[in-house]
């Protein structure tokens, strides 16, 4: 099985399509969408249509904090991100909403534990952003003895955490496109980055492809038409900030 791991799509249709196309060309046989399907971006309905299609073809889809927010948008908010949730809500069809509200927070695919944020308390949306928080998530997930890998999103960064020679976890910044051997006799936890809203200064979309048979994990960066995605944000009348963010990848 070659598992494509896509997280934090954030209603960015151009980025999602580019990543799906890339994954298909690289032999993906299974898809997992790790939450935050909508929010921030300009094409929530079109993105949801794509994801519904993927789900009916067998893809695993999880709920993220922005999906929850789009279902129950705060009545009023000073925070920009929350302000877009109200607009997103209006764009979604009943079918979209029903689908979103039925989504689980975690799932297991063979030896992989999937979660949007941290496996130790998925509903609290804790960030897996350092060795300590990664350790907490991993520890909770491997309570199931079949689990060797934990994949999540939420932090919009691509990081692989692994056990070195010491007791704690070590963080590793992957080089895009390089398959990393991740043998199953070790335990691994990775954040796969964000498809639809990269924030590291590069506009290209992020996702990861995991080859279970070969035990190789590849983090990818996929260039896409980010100017078109920014234009969609502007067309939707969403805050200019979110359009610029896509143009600059910040």
């Amino acid at each position: 099985m070659k598992l494509a791991l896509l997280s934090d799509i954030h209603a960015n249709l151009q980025a999602l399509d580019a990543c799906l196309d890339h994954a298909q060309r690289h032999g993906a046989t299974q898809y997992a969408l790790l939450g935050d399907l909508v929010g921030y971006g300009g094409d929530p309905a079109a993105v949801m249509d794509r994801i519904l299609q993927l789900a009916s073809a067998g893809a695993v889809v999880l709920q993220g904090n922005h999906d929850e927010m789009a279902l129950h948008p705060p009545a009023q908010s000073d925070r920009l991100g929350e302000a877009t949730a109200g607009w997103t809500h209006t764009q979604l069809t009943t079918e979209h909403r029903q689908f979103l509200s039925a989504l689980p927070l975690t799932a297991r695919l063979q030896s992989c534990w999937l979660v949007h944020a941290s496996a130790d308390a998925p509903e609290k949306w804790r960030y897996v952003e350092d060795e300590r928080s990664a350790g907490a998530s991993l520890e909770a997930a491997v309570a199931d003895p079949q689990v060797r890998y934990v994949f999540g999103g939420h932090v919009h960064r691509q990081t692989l955490y692994y056990k070195g020679s010491g007791r704690g976890l070590m963080a590793f910044a992957p080089t895009p496109g390089v398959p990393i051997p991740t043998p199953a006799h070790r335990q691994w936890i990775a954040t796969v980055g964000s498809v639809g809203q990269p924030r590291d200064g590069q506009p290209s979309a992020m996702y990861a492809l995991f080859d279970l048979a070969q035990a190789r994990l590849t983090f990818h960066r996929v260039p896409y038409d980010h100017m078109a995605a920014a234009a969609a944000v502007r067309r939707a009348g969403l805050p200019e900030y979110f359009a610029q963010r896509l143009e600059e990848g910040r």
Binding site: E131, L160, Y162, G164, S165, G166, R167, G168, M170, F172, P174, T175, V178, I180, P181, P183, H185
Partner: protein, 481 residues
């Protein structure tokens, strides 16, 4: 794992005799069960390395096995054994790789208790350059060996070096399985670099240090720092200079001591910035600028050591950037300076281009090269003797470079003899790991042309690196206008 009997069959390999029985692993010659007819047969002799312990032991050499497997699969080139196959960690872990012909550096060292037969400076430079070339090829692939020692360097019959045993190595593309948050020293105590002592894994200059230790050993028959057995002994590496090799072997030329001691500087920044720079010096001993470091015959005094000891107390782990990136920052720049049919404007423009390139690369080294025709020299006319002709051209090159600010840039001057200028330049660039060639777009009066393969076009097409073709610049054109 106990010793296997010859004839044992393992995953389609037939075990032959055990050729090495080390502390960590046994190494056997092997062949495929159905011999050279086997479709998988790679067409070269193979060895199988089997770690002594198995997965159940959870020992460090199983991790080393994983690390070596990781690296051998991706490393390429003539300086590493070619990878063939690996066994399952849970069944019988093994690695099958090319059996490279040659002798390890141990061969040039005395047996314990035997007297040391001193190697000539020439041999030392040749061995050192071979090691440095091999190590540079590794660094370019984003890997650091980190456990270089005579047993892990094999010299082929043609004199080139092959690096063995990547069990403690580190590749920037993969998680470093040997690293840990406490940052302990990983390596062999006699050859380990100071920064490795505080847990730095991934600085190419650590390998430069180890080459220095081996050269010291080969030159004097002694280890520069002994083989410390305690952590305290290892930490000495952070501040201690070894005795100058010339104190042990007075006939050693100062240039060679200069090279060895530069490799052995406690601060990585004081060493050769890359193995390519080291190889360059060892291939051009006459161009080495010998400082007090090369001349001295008495060791560093107590006061200086004490000062450094105080400083070393605060030394701690810092992460390293990618090896390939680190060595890219200290390129070897080569400028081809024509010696006839060349206008002042071209020479001026070449100099400007070199100045600009050096300006943005503080650690770069510069090789100033000219190519003369063999017919320019003569064995019968004294004023055309090779020495005299070369000296005249060297002086011209130095005059050309004189206006450049070369502080901080090691610079050397070379006269090559060849009838094929382009080929001579390309070969020189290949042999010396040159990262960029600067040359005139028009040489010998021939302007750049679309269909004629002029020297610059030939070089640009065949060079192993970037070529900057410099066009004649102001102020001369303006002066003429």
């Amino acid at each position: 794992m106990k010793l296997l009997e010859p004839g044992t069959l393992l995953d389609g390999f037939v075990i032959e005799e055990c050729i090495h029985s080390g502390g960590m692993a046994h190494i056997y010659r092997v062949h495929y069960a159905n011999g050279a007819n086997c479709v998988r047969d790679p067409g070269f002799p193979m060895v199988m390395k089997i770690p002594r312990m198995t997965a159940g032991d959870g020992a460090e050499n199983i991790v080393s096995f994983e690390v070596e497997h990781q690296l051998l699969q991706v490393l390429t080139g003539p300086h590493v054994p070619r990878f063939v196959a690996a066994g399952d960690l849970h069944h019988v872990p093994y690695l099958v790789m090319e059996h490279v012909q040659g002798q390890t550096l141990d061969h040039w060292l005395p047996e314990p208790g035997e007297p040391h037969t001193p190697l000539t400076p020439d041999t030392l430079a040749r061995l050192g350059a071979a090691m440095a070339h091999a190590v540079h090829s590794l660094h370019k692939q984003n890997a650091c060996h980190l456990d270089l020692k005579p047993a892990n360097v094999l010299i082929r019959p043609d004199g080139s070096a092959v690096l063995l045993d990547f069990g403690l190595s580190c590749h920037a593309h993969y998680p470093d399985l040997l690293a840990e948050e406490l940052r302990k020293a990983v390596g062999s105590p006699a050859w380990i670099a100071p920064e490795q002592v505080v847990g730095v894994r991934g600085d190419p200059r650590s390998d430069v240090f180890a080459i220095g230790v081996m050269l010291y050993e080969l030159a004097t028959g002694e280890l520069p720092f002994g083989a410390p057995k305690t952590d305290g002994g290892l930490r000495q590496r952070l501040w201690m200079d070894p005795r100058p090799p010339r104190a042990l072997r007075p006939d050693l030329p100062p240039w060679l001591q200069e090279v060895i001691l530069r490799c052995l500087e406690t601060e990585a920044a004081q060493r050769y910035p890359s193995a390519a720079h080291l190889a360059f010096d060892l291939s051009n001993p006459d161009q080495i600028e010998v400082t007090a470091r090369g001349e001295r015959t008495i060791g560093t005094g107590f006061k200086e050591h004490f000062k450094r000891w105080l400083k070393a107390a605060g030394k701690h782990y810092q992460p390293s950037p990618m090896p390939s990136q680190q060595i890219e920052e200290v390129p070897i720049l080569m400028v081809a300076v024509p010696h006839h049919d060349v206008s002042d404007a071209t020479l001026y423009s070449l100099r400007q281009a070199v100045a600009r390139s050096l300006g943005i690369r503080p650690g770069a080294r510069l090789a100033v090269v000219t190519v003369i025709s063999p017919s320019d020299t003569s064995s019968t006319h004294n004023d055309k003797s090779e020495t005299n002709v070369h000296r005249r051209h060297l002086t011209q090159l130095k005059q050309w470079a004189q206006p450049l600010d070369l502080s901080g840039h090691q610079t050397s001057y070379h006269v090559l003899e060849s009838n094929d200028v382009a080929q001579a330049l390309v070969r020189y660039a290949e042999g010396n790991h040159v990262s960029m060639i600067v040359m005139g777009a028009a040489t010998h009066g021939l302007q750049i042309q679309r269909f004629v393969a002029t020297v610059p076009i030939k070089v640009a097409m065949d060079a192993p690196c970037t070529v900057i073709l410099v066009k004649q610049q102001t102020p001369f054109e303006q002066l003429n206008a």
